[in-house]
Symmetry: D2
Subunit: 337 residues, 4 copies
């Protein structure tokens, strides 16, 4: 079988297509023939060595994949050959609260990922693909989808009638718009591009803001939502945090997702956060049980993820370069099989 | 001003239209010119003396009303003449957990209700009517609407992708279907009439069941929802409880609303409830803050309550008789002003 | 190795001591040399065939055991020979919400139990024994202890200052008193014996009631707790439910544990439950993660379970007979090794 | 009657003792003869003008007071002359979620405070003083006590067996130790003084750390608590935040209380917070219903607040100076009547 491998933090050019034997499923394992993968910004950082010296190498990169069960190992009654499946971001976080041990199993990070024609999954790390989704659409869900789901429903607890603010047009933000609408919420979406703003409206955004032309968008968002936004899905990192704090209502939540570091602004409004009893909630994807709950929600509501563009398996470097350009709207996908 | 008054538990015929002076708003009070009211089954029981000897008489019956602010008393800055408003079911339950003191203020029960041309409300017991609703539609919300809202969102905690089962076509059940869909849930709705079932489908029900022709509907519902129903909105009382317990998943909830008493069946499946870690949750309307949250949700989602038929103020007895007949689908309304 | 086995629902006399080979731990398995077990009422029902025709036979009965790791299988880094451990009631409910699949793994019910000198456990179904507990005390925790823990902390959410009511002197009730006090709550405990009431006071009960001499104890408990009891740990089944409903405050909870069936009283106060927005919450033990949380709490607070009497491994029938007599106060234990 | 008044942000020396007529209770109002007050750091900031130009002047400063009901206005049945009572920090936040309107009623900030022989309270803003507390002890509760209570129980959700870390020996921190122990938690307490550390141990701290001699106390705390601290009660502001993030477990909470501003460190570990799904939760005192819940907990557990030193009413300036010196351990009190 063919798979991509990184020997070190070599950047996109270091992605090498190699040959390996197809593995055999052991006790409780499932061999999946991968059909599609999608990229997350985190995969780009990994490829470029952004996670430092503790990163495992060699590494099969990329966390998000979907495919078809090829064969099951002993003791697997939950799946059979031919089943369409999605792999969980964390192999070892089945349910409950997160922990260090559970999180030491991220695909394309702590363990090998999905840029491969075949991969073994523990049976408890797979969920079935909804009928209405293609393999490419299914492959869009594990990281960005579940992160947005956790932010909006599980940690954000959004109810009908509440207001959710999203930032930009990355994968997590588009999913957050779709899930917030699914929850009956009002959505305020920001972007720096008027063309993209039109697409955000089509996706369901009730209000939109160009944060370039309206740098004090937090104030505007607060006005529109009367008492303030209930949940900001913050993907911009510390740079946008001040406007987010301004947008959020008293007692509201900022779901904090951005992986971008950088020093915080000297006037970071943490004292205001305290006085307003606000909550800054880190979000790190979710468990297999959370993935199942999200897939159920997607099924019941016939939701489809936004796919920007699909590359062939031999175009993986182009796919990464496209993601790096920032021109995409939705997920960058790779067709494997 | 004209208002209806009951001198005792005299039944529908005892409803007398009387004349009274228009009251003057005191400190923190708001005088509302009522435009519409709607009936709940509980109002019928009250009129017929079903709540026993502790019922206050004389009584202006009926809890649910909406209208226009006529005048405000000293210290009221929250409302002004001309504002369209809805009255809360409980005057004294503003927010937080319920308590005996807070619940000792139910309109048309502990205190006078809304079958009146004018009524004084404490300022904290009113919320604004959404623009897209008529006064009649607004008057449909305080009791049945808020009960369904509390059952589905606040106490039931329904999330997208979950399954909610509703029973019949009473006010609470229709609202529960609408709120469950607003939450992104799948709805299984039951009725004894195939004609009504068609209307339930139009309201959004994903699956329907005729409980007359399918007496073991609980089993069927469990199958459809794979692991069992997440929330049953139980309005049938102890008679239907056994099928509800059968329908609900392990760890699921039965929101218990039925006011109907009667002895429980000798084979009541409480032991099964325990073994399945299920929850039977009594629901009693909600607070003014809950009402505001529901009204926000209705506004954001442009939802409209189902009105069966509207009677004139001089036809109140006919309205009660119509409700008693059980032929209605949705709320029975009275146009007051 | 020696172990007890039941060939069918033969009652206590059918408990036979048999010889079997010591099993070998496979992948992810741990061989435990059991040192102690304790009995639960549920074990007595099992032995007497009370769970009907679906009960697995032959069966090694009894769910609750503790011992010492003898040897670990491949892939087990979490435990080593010599570690003192406690087995979880459910082998397959590791964390998160319960489900049918997770609950199909109850020791001494769906799978073999602990009345055996050795037993294999999956590594994820064990937690470490706190240093301050003997093996016998540790063996008291898995079923009755965790049921009380789930009722009081996880499902009951008891906070300092709240009032918890317990019934009688069975294992769950004594643990509930201890956990309620650990949570900073006030405890009202009932019993039919004045001698036992003295022991309940020593265990921490703030108020006590003899339910034989005070049959309307629900009213009394409501008075003592001012607004009503926050949580009743109901172990008496449908027979005591009416008094429990009376005792509980508006918005309060009845954690329902009793395995006893029997028809409900014709005047069952479910309508009152609804009007008071009360919650009847079934409780079914808990997960391995819950067990770990409870063990942490027991460790931090130096808590010791109440052991009534310890029998030798060849006195298992006497132990069951002692439990059946109802004379015990606390857990009936068996020393195995 | 005598009361202290500030004409502007004049500092401690601007505190002037003036004479005013005793007010008369109106509808729903209660006249309280204040017996004691205690100081919070926030009162010192107010006196020194630290809250900027929006501060109301003239102002009767200080939020925390307790006393005896002198007389009640019309419509007050909840209290009678002679009742011992405590005033809520916010007059208008009765229950439920916080909001701008509810928070616009902080004593000694938005409205006049308690450094006065008499004060009118709305009846819903008072709770009864527990019998086992003196008026001085009762006056210690409204701000620091309720802030700690909200942080530990309501927002922190601390359960028995969890680990709570507190910082220093200010009022909130000492209350947090007491409440955490009341919840059955393990407490790690830090201080810069070995003498104070001895007193922290006596108050119940299980582990202590001198943050001066152990500047990387976060790492140490994480080790002691095995998987990390469940809740840090952060009062040090952004300066200590990095060590707090280090101390907290994956999925844990930092309750953020410090009113101290100042620029954040350039290496603020917010990305680590995200990766560990941690939560930074602002805490702003609480509602009257929260105050009642805390007072219930204090009553049931016979808890006593730590009073450092009591000043006479004519020594208010000395009391403020003592607080400013930082030498205190526990609350600085003023005996009024």
């Amino acid at each position: 079988m063919k798979c991509y491998e990184l020997q070190g933090p070599s950047g996109i050019d270091g992605l090498a297509l190699v040959d390996k034997p197809v593995p055999t499923p052991g006790d409780g394992e499932v061999l999946v023939r991968l059909k599609a993968a999608t990229l997350n910004y985190r995969d780009l950082i990994t490829v470029k060595g952004g996670y430092g010296s503790r990163q495992k190498f060699p590494l099969v990169p990329v966390s998000d994949g979907a495919g078809i069960v090829e064969r099951v190992g002993p003791g697997v009654r939950e799946f059979a050959a031919g089943d369409r499946v999605i792999g969980s971001f964390f192999e070892g976080w089945i349910g409950g609260e997160p922990s260090e041990a559970k999180m030491r199993s991220a695909l394309g990070g702590s363990v090998d990922g999905v840029l491969s024609e075949y991969r073994l999954f523990p049976k408890h790390a797979l969920v079935r693909t909804p009928e209405h989704l293609s393999d490419i659409e299914a492959a869009a869900l594990p990281c960005a989808g579940l992160t947005a789901w956790s932010a909006v429903t599980k940690l954000g607890g959004v109810r009908p009638g509440q207001t959710v603010l999203t930032q930009g047009t990355g994968g997590v933000s588009l999913f957050a718009i779709q899930f917030a609408k699914m929850c009956g919420a009002r959505v305020i979406a920001t972007s720096s591009s008027d063309a993209k703003i039109e697409r955000l409206k089509k996706l369901g955004a009730d209000f939109t803001l160009n944060y370039r032309t309206t740098p004090d968008w937090g104030k505007k968002a607060r006005e529109w939502s009367i008492h303030g936004v209930d949940l900001v899905v913050e993907v911009g990192g510390v740079g946008t945090l001040n406007e987010s704090i301004r947008a959020v209502r008293i007692g509201g939540t900022i779901a904090f997702i951005g992986v971008l570091a950088g020093p915080p602004p000297p006037d970071l409004r943490l004292p205001l956060m305290v006085m307003q009893q606000q909550r800054l909630q880190g979000v790190t994807v979710g468990s297999v049980e959370d993935l199942q709950a999200m897939v159920d929600a997607i099924t019941v509501n016939g939701m489809k993820p936004v796919i920007d563009r699909t590359f062939r398996f031999d175009q993986v470097r182009d796919a990464f370069a496209h993601m790096e350009s920032g021109a995409h709207f939705g997920k960058v996908a790779i067709e494997i099989g």
